[in-house]
């Protein structure tokens, strides 16, 4: 049974035709040397065969430590990077092979919210101009007065005072700026939003506000999110399903509660055990599973299962065979021969 089929058949939310289907996505960045005769000395395998689906209105969390390729997956879906191999099927069309001229429509359907609210807004543009720019560029609203009204409406939707349209980004707080970033993403009426660590740079109280805003918007407009994050508690709160990535590959993919309550992959287990419990006595009594060693270089990943050098349960097969993401229980996919072998 193929990966895509499994997800499509078993997941309740994904029963309908998925909005986004990513199949075997690969993004290898060449590492070159030399001035004129550029020799490729290797590849950074940022994303190495990632597959998942997202249904309309669904939020898929993508977690993993820094450098595991989460952001690159997001950028490939946005076509900010051109994927090396694989398919990214959005609403029935493969956007991975799209020519630059055809992307314009995609730009209106797929939007992004960035991590850093300070660098994601042009410091020399007023908020109103930042939000209305896509409306103008795509010719969504041609009349300037109507455009201003729409900007005010978008600001209101995102919980900001419409008067902020006259301000510059540096006159606002981080949370307010992030709301501006969200308003900008909403301006083109997208169907799908990539939240690239959208709340990681905010402090906790603001994080909660922004997450609630994102949830409200999802209910109101029926967006799908790809929620890239490293904060597992945030992911648990907002996502329907979660994919755990390690070194460019998906290690485990399951419904949110299933993954957190019943993690199968040794890497997921280690990751979850690293999350502190906000109760000193429980935390004291808890046993932590600490991973040995460092994350290997994505230029030269280990053979077989990329996690095997650090895996406490590794067996001989792990060294040789690349594990496939396979169904462990309905809707719960794991890429680990040990778990699947049991």
């Amino acid at each position: 049974m193929s990966v895509a089929e499994t997800i499509g058949d078993e997941n309740s939310l994904a029963d309908a035709e998925p909005l986004l289907r990513v199949e075997g996505l690969k993004m290898h960045f060449p590492v070159t040397e030399g001035l004129f005769m550029r020799r490729t000395v290797g590849h950074v395998k940022a994303v190495d065969g990632v597959s998942f689906t997202i249904a309309p209105g669904e939020t898929l969390g993508l977690v993993g430590e820094s450098g595991c390729g989460k952001t690159t997956v997001g950028r490939c879906i946005l076509r900010l990077e051109n994927p090396g191999a694989g398919k990214v099927v959005f609403a029935g069309t493969d956007i991975a092979g799209m020519k630059a001229s055809e992307i314009s429509k995609l730009r209106q359907d797929v939007q992004v919210i960035f991590q850093d609210p300070f660098s994601s807004l042009n410091p020399r543009q007023k908020i109103g101009s930042i939000i209305s720019e896509p409306l103008r560029v795509h010719g969504i609203i041609k009349d300037p007065t109507k455009r201003r009204e729409r900007v005010a409406e978008l600001l209101r939707i995102c919980g900001l005072n419409p008067r902020f349209a006259d301000r510059y980004p540096h006159e606002m707080s981080g949370g307010q700026r992030q709301r501006v970033g969200i308003a900008r993403a909403l301006s083109v009426n997208p169907k799908f939003i990539v939240c690239d660590e959208a709340v990681s740079a905010l402090d906790v109280s603001i994080q909660a506000q922004v997450i609630n805003l994102l949830e409200d918007l999802r209910e109101q407009f029926n967006f799908s999110y790809l929620f890239i994050a490293h904060d597992l508690s945030v992911v648990r709160h907002i996502c329907h399903r979660v994919a755990v990535m390690y070194l460019g590959k998906i290690a485990e993919l399951a419904d949110c509660d299933e993954l957190f309550d019943n993690p199968r992959h040794p890497y997921t287990q280690a990751l979850l055990s690293a999350v502190p419990v906000p109760d000193p006595t429980v935390e004291e009594a808890r046993s932590h599973q600490i991973l040995e060693g460092e994350v290997p270089s994505p230029m030269n990943p280990p053979s077989g299962c990329v996690f095997h050098p650090r895996c406490p349960q590794a067996i001989e097969t792990c060294r040789r065979e690349v594990p496939e993401l396979q169904e462990f229980s309905p809707g719960h996919m794991v890429a680990c021969p040990v778990v699947l072998g049991k």
């Binding site: 900010l80 730009r107 797929v110 939007q111 850093d116 660098s119 020399r124 795509h138 301000r167």
Partner: protein, 372 residues
Amino acid sequence: MTAPGHDRFLGLRITPLTRRRLRNFRANARGFWSLWIFLALFVLTLFAEFIANDNPLLIRFDGEFYAPVLFTYPETAFGGEFETEADYRDPFVAELIGEKGGWMIWPPVRYDYRTINYDLPVPAPAPPSADNWLGTDDQGRDVVARLIYGFRISVLFGLVLTIFSSIVGVAAGAVQGYFGGWTDLLFQRFIEIWSGLPTLYLLIILASLVEPNFWWLLGIMLAFSWMALVGVVRAEFLRARNFDYVRAARALGLTNTMIMFKHVLPNAMVASLTFLPFILSGSITTLTALDFLGFGLPPGSPSLGEMLQQGKANLQAPWLGITAFMVLSVMLTLLIFIFEAVRDAFDPRKGVAAAAVAAERTLDQPAGEAAS
């Protein structure tokens, strides 16, 4: 109601950042005053025709007004004998006008840059006198008049060259930095080769093929001076193209041109701006050097370089060399002072420190600005 924290400067709305920069610039007294002195000199020389001219500003003759500084009148208009333009410096013409009870208002300096004083008591170059305040050059032309016109042409040349080379340089740097990769690599190698060409020799060769005028010289020098800004603009674009707001703009479907001009360029302007002064003073010096060597502006043009050359050829007439040297050094010093102040005003670190000092001074200001 304007949003809090906004201010107006010359009728334009400015950001607090700009306001802080303006304040920093004003705080630098040396640069601030240099700017005013330079502007005063420049504006004065822009009206050089009204300061140093061999035609009077206004003539009252036979109940009518004449403005020879603006219009050409034949000598016959004043009852003279020839159809040619009246030579108002000629005692004969002055007498004609005086006879009819007319009068003439002269500019402070009664010489044009090409007027030759034929009444010199000594052979040219004549030393300073009541007539020629800074003496004459070796062709009997008034030094003050030539200085005023020479200053104007130098500054204008420098400004025009700076503007054009900035436009070309910024465009080239922007394309390289934004697109990167092969575009950048090939363009960089081309610039390395191009900047290796010996500019002066090329100029000398070209000067022997065509008679260089203002625009010819400008074109030839532009062909080489645009490279000055490429490096810094390219670096800024290389940096900025990975900013999230540029990524966001791409994700929103803006075209490359739009991103370059709206999102990257305004943020690369500060770095480019600090380079402009060096291009400006560089252009002025280059023009002077070319004139000094005799490959610059056509003969007869008022130029500081030619005056320096005359000073060198006539060491017995030190007023030539000294005057040209003084004017050049004052001009370049003023420019350097101004741009030093501009650069410091744009320096973000210095800006904060100076702003803190300024904030202390204005502590008594109402707190309305902070509470927005």
